[in-house]
């Protein structure tokens, strides 16, 4: 499909141009860098006419989507610049933004964007000289990288010889059937009690689906229906996805959660999407769940499956107990295979990495299954549904698919609990889990934060530390 991006129109080469000039979208804060660029002009500093300034009130306002859109629209590079830390007109906008840029940068590089195309700087209103230097440097780097053809003109994807590391044998055998039945029986009894005593008005758990062995979410509202509740290693759904629907209801809800699901509940509590008082968490000691092929899901390798401390009830094959009771007999865990896969992809040359993700995204149907199953995707109106203007192209092609998948992943930065439901349901088998995992690794490494553990702390991208690493910012 031919490209008709905004910047493509801007990027018309001048008639008789001597050499190719990159187009760099410069997203500048109003208070510092925009004024600094003015200063460069009034003091007659000369610098390449490659930047197209876009003024925003604060770098804290820069949704990563602005940067993604710049590339989608044909920019060869993006330069983001604002006030030095400590100088922010809004006190801390730039420091919150810094964390966001950290995550975005990691993600963009992971999907194969040449790092020479994405630049960050702090330029104050008095730094006209620095501004001209920053532009010159960014221009040199983008020129070196050449015209950007990464977005929208992908064509038939090249299948690179990317071989993700083999996943080792699961660290533990299949869960015992009698244990599963015992858990189901305890769940049924507990649910009936909670409903009969009026402690909750609905129990959200699992019941047998219509296909053999399939487990599906179910809503139990009467104690006589509690016998529907079931448990097996096919209880894959993250039921926390149903919690935000109860946000405005008085009803108390009991939710059956595995350790991975509870991480999402923590996320929802942090973001005030659910009231702790209205949710009764029934933690099930989890032996690991099956993936679509019936083998242990990757997310389970490094998880001990213990009931997290957040839970109100602990259900094990031995019975149901009030409170969270780790069994202590930690189950065998090994390294997370997603670590190795992400590390391998990250070690490839950007070209190969880009080809890998192009091939992945080319298959995306834009069914938004990834969004639908994600407990953290609770927005009443998703950015993909914002159509005035149309932020995410509705076209199901390389351009729209890349914008969507990158946007989805970055919106989950520091929020994704790693339940991998998105990857499980993807009809096209896009490795969305690896995108999320890459960002989670960055967040952990940079900010020492692991998602889904403590509901009382702020999510990492909502906050900052004055000394957050910023070696990538000029």
């Amino acid at each position: 499909m031919p490209e008709h991006g905004d910047a493509a129109a801007v990027a018309q080469p001048a008639v008789g141009a001597r050499e190719w000039q990159p187009v760099i979208a410069a997203v500048l804060c109003h208070w510092c860098t925009y004024a600094g660029a003015d200063m460069a002009g009034t003091t007659r500093r000369v610098y390449p006419a490659t930047v197209r300034p876009l003024r925003v009130p604060c770098t804290g306002r820069i949704d990563p989507l602005l940067i993604v859109k710049a590339f989608e629209s044909g920019a060869d590079g993006v330069l983001v610049s604002g006030c030095h830390p400590g100088d922010c007109h809004y006190v801390q906008g730039n420091m919150v933004a810094r964390r966001r840029f950290t995550a975005l940068r990691a993600l963009m590089e992971f999907v194969g964007l040449d790092p020479r195309r994405l630049h960050f700087a702090w330029v104050s209103a008095s730094e006209g000289v620095k501004w001209s230097q920053v532009v010159a440097e960014a221009t040199a780097a983008v020129r070196e990288a050449g015209p950007f053809q990464g977005w929208g003109t992908l064509g038939e994807p090249r299948r690179p010889a990317v071989r993700l590391p083999e996943v080792p044998a699961p660290p533990r055998g299949a869960p015992r059937i009698e244990d599963q039945q015992a858990v189901a029986a305890h769940l049924q009894r507990l649910a009936a009690t909670l409903l009969d005593e009026g402690q909750v008005s609905v129990v959200i758990g699992y019941a047998a689906g219509s296909l053999d062995g399939q487990m599906v979410p179910t809503f139990v509202e009467r104690s006589e229906d509690a016998s529907k509740l079931a448990w097996s290693d096919r209880c894959v759904n993250n039921l926390a996805v149903y919690l935000p629907a109860f946000r405005r209801q008085e009803a108390k809800v009991a939710l059956v959660v595995k350790k991975c699901d509870a991480r999402a509940v923590v996320g929802l509590l942090q973001e005030a999407q659910v009231s702790r008082k209205r949710v009764v968490l029934i933690g099930v000691s989890c032996p690991g769940v099956a993936d679509n092929k019936g083998t242990l899901a990757l997310k389970c390798y490094a998880c001990d499956g213990e009931v997290p401390s957040l839970c109100d009830w602990t259900v094990t094959p031995a019975g149901a107990q009030q409170g969270a009771h780790p069994s202590g007999a930690a189950r065998a865990v090994t390294d997370d295979p997603r670590d190795a896969q992400v590390t391998y992809l990250a070690s490839l040359p950007p070209e190969d990495r880009r080809a890998y993700w192009q091939a992945q995204f080319a298959e995306c149907l834009r069914c938004y299954g990834c969004r639908a199953v994600c407990p953290m995707c609770y927005c009443a109106v998703c950015v993909a549904e914002q159509n005035r203007p149309q932020w995410v192209p509705t076209t199901i092609d390389a351009k729209g698919n890349l914008t969507w998948n990158v946007t989805r992943a970055i919106h989950l930065a520091g929020r994704c609990g790693g339940c991998d439901e998105c990857a499980r349901v993807c009809p096209a088998d896009v490795r969305l889990d690896l995108l999320n995992h890459r960002v989670a690794m960055e967040v952990e490494q940079r900010f020492g934060y692991r998602t889904g553990e403590d509901p009382s702390v702020a999510p990492p991208l909502d906050t900052f530390r004055p000394d957050d690493p910023q070696e990538f910012i000029r």
Partner: protein, 351 residues
């Protein structure tokens, strides 16, 4: 009975002939652990083993995204250019009978009344070779909605498994053209061979244990419009569009301008009744405000409205993909049954 018997090697030879003749062959291939329809240039990649592709081949006649026309605004006015279908003759090879039937249901939608020129052009260029099933998958329910693992609806040429090889026979003039070369070298199949192949189709049919969905239910379903059953069902539905996008007969699309104020294309892209945005109006009003009402629409469209409009056929061919691939295991057959058995609402609420 006309038709030929082909060994595996002969089938490969036939495909090679077609490819050499410049025909675009689209067939199931196994790629990174999933089966998908792809244009192939090597018959060795074609996978005709049991099982079905992740989604139907409808994208080859009804692309996920296609341009309808392009526009350019210049000083002297607006130039519009109609999109042309650059597709070559194509053969959809190894299409399961349910998927072939799905194409026929799409035909009713796109060609049944006002003719959709882009669809019509692609459809004209397409010959469908259906592939009878040697076994059913757990989610299959074609027999419940009037289909069969050896069904002929929508296919131009039928391929049935026969021992190590295949029986093939044309069903339409298009199919005859495609099979023309076979008559010069392939062995004729005997009546007994066809009988055996049909007997094995019957065995597959019998292995699909789903009771039939009755056509007469259309009006009962319509009357269930206000039934509380939809609320109970819709509560679980998360509102993605996996069911509609993998569906062989779903045909909804969205029209959207892709470009700038000065130039661009008007495109249509797949869309889904399960999305909240699907019916939201410019005013903000949404006539289908809840997921329950959207899920109801999907079921009723397939089993009530469509059959009433198109000769009693369902807009469901029983491939079962939506059942197998739904993130929360929604089962459309179960929904139909629950709605039919549920106490009726007044039924006169407008759609």
């Amino acid at each position: 009975m006309t038709g030929w018997r082909l060994s595996g090697a002969e089938l490969t030879r036939w495909l090679e002939d077609l490819l050499r003749g410049g025909t675009r062959v689209i067939a199931p291939v196994d790629e990174d652990g999933r089966r998908v329809f792809k244009a192939v240039d090597d018959p060795a990649r074609v996978c005709l083993a049991s099982g079905k592709t992740r989604w139907s081949p409808k994208e080859f006649v009804f692309p996920k995204t296609e341009a309808l026309f392009s526009y350019a605004v210049q000083a002297d006015g607006v130039t519009l250019r109609a999109a042309s279908v650059d597709a070559a003759e194509q053969v959809l090879f190894g299409v399961r009978p349910c998927d072939a039937a799905g194409l026929a249901r799409l035909d009713a939608t796109f060609l049944g009344g006002e003719i959709d020129p882009l669809y019509a052009r692609r459809r004209d260029l397409t010959t469908v070779v259906s592939l009878g099933c040697a076994e059913a998958e757990p989610e299959c329910f074609c027999t419940a909605v009037g289909g069969s693992p050896g069904g002929e609806e929508g296919s131009d040429l039928q391929l049935l498994p026969a021992g190590e090889g295949w029986l093939v026979r044309p069903l339409t003039p298009k199919g005859e053209r495609l099979a023309a070369s076979l008559s010069t070298w392939a062995a004729k199949a005997s009546d007994e061979e066809w009988e055996q192949a049909r007997a094995s189709v019957r065995r597959v049919e019998e292995s699909i244990r789903h009771s039939a969905v009755a056509r007469e239910w259309a009006s009962i379903l319509e009357a269930s419009f206000d039934s509380p059953v939809w609320e109970a069902l819709g509560r679980r539905c998360l509102g993605c569009s996996i069911c509609t996008y993998v569906c062989p007969s779903c045909s909804c699309f969205d029209v959207n301008d892709n470009g700038t104020a000065s130039c661009g294309e008007r495109c249509r892209s797949w869309d889904s009744c399960t999305f909240a945005l699907f019916t939201r109006q410019a005013s903000g009003h949404n006539p289908r405000p809840t997921q329950a009402s959207r899920y109801r629409q999907r079921v009723l469209h397939k089993f009530a409205y469509y059959p009433q409009r198109y000769e009693g056929r369902f807009m469901c061919v029983g491939c079962g993909r939506c059942v197998a691939m739904c993130p929360v295991g929604m089962d459309i057959q179960e929904a139909v049954r629950m709605a039919v058995e549920a106490p009726r609402g007044s039924g006169d609420a407008g759609r």
